[in-house]
Symmetry: C2
Subunit: 156 residues, 2 copies
């Protein structure tokens, strides 16, 4: 399939899967060499899972199929520019890139918070709307120390 | 349990669950009114899931238990300052706040990419290390239009 066909498929998912109003209007596809590995669509309210964005669903399914937390050599086709959660997941998954149709501005006009969260992430803690507190605990670094010293650690 | 005890519990998970070297050295707890609702620990390599960070695991489990994609009235206790994926998930989950012990700088010293991804998210597409392309497709906004016009839509 061509990039345009793959993106069209993600858009078709975004329309079909949100028709009832239960799922948000977003679709995504992970592909390698023009071949679809996985599909995803927004299932936040259906699954009671705030992380079940189309992109995350597609990434998790592709990783399950390939038996790896990394998707080197794969591209993500998303009906809309990824929100910061999904964009960070794309980095963690080591995808080669992302192709999208609608912009975050268009998502905002449809009532989605992506741009507000992008702005929050650029701020330091005191300026963020989210309340946060750091507690100093003497033994806090113990897991990091043990991890760094463990020759059997599996890096990701 | 006190905030300090809840954070200590997240730290204990981070040590115990990463001892073998298979799981990353991170733990998290979702609590409401001092009571633990869910626990999470990093399972990226074990589950072949790049999104299985401690915070995401704990958030998904708390939402499953409470039957809602939103965690109003709950706090997240995390062994380390959340990465951008997890921080955005905290916003999407409508948690009241986050309490953490180690900083992103300490995670970086242990070899984790949080700060690099935070920096990437502040950039515009042309400056990012991730390749991205926007394709213009005439019908791209169809799902958003249908969603906005649907009186049965479930907002989240």
């Amino acid at each position: 399939m061509t990039p345009r066909e793959l993106l069209q498929h993600a858009l078709t998912l975004s329309v079909q899967k949100s028709a009832s109003g239960e799922n948000g209007p977003f679709g995504a596809v992970v592909a390698r060499g023009g071949e679809i590995i996985s599909e995803g669509w927004n299932q936040v309210t259906q699954l009671h899972d705030p992380t079940a964005h189309a992109e995350i669903v597609a990434i998790r399914e592709a990783c399950r199929k390939l038996g790896s937390p990394h998707l080197h050599g794969c591209l993500l086709y998303a009906s809309c520019e990824p929100c910061p959660m999904c964009l960070a997941a794309i980095y963690w998954a080591h995808l080669d890139g992302v192709v999208y149709a609608n912009s975050s501005q268009e998502a905002q006009r449809a009532g989605f918070d992506d741009l507000r969260i992008y702005r929050e992430l650029t701020l330091d803690w005191p300026e963020r709307a989210l309340k946060a507190e750091r507690l100093v605990i003497d033994t806090a670094a113990e897991a990091f120390r043990a991890w760094s010293a463990n020759p059997n650690r599996v890096e990701y």
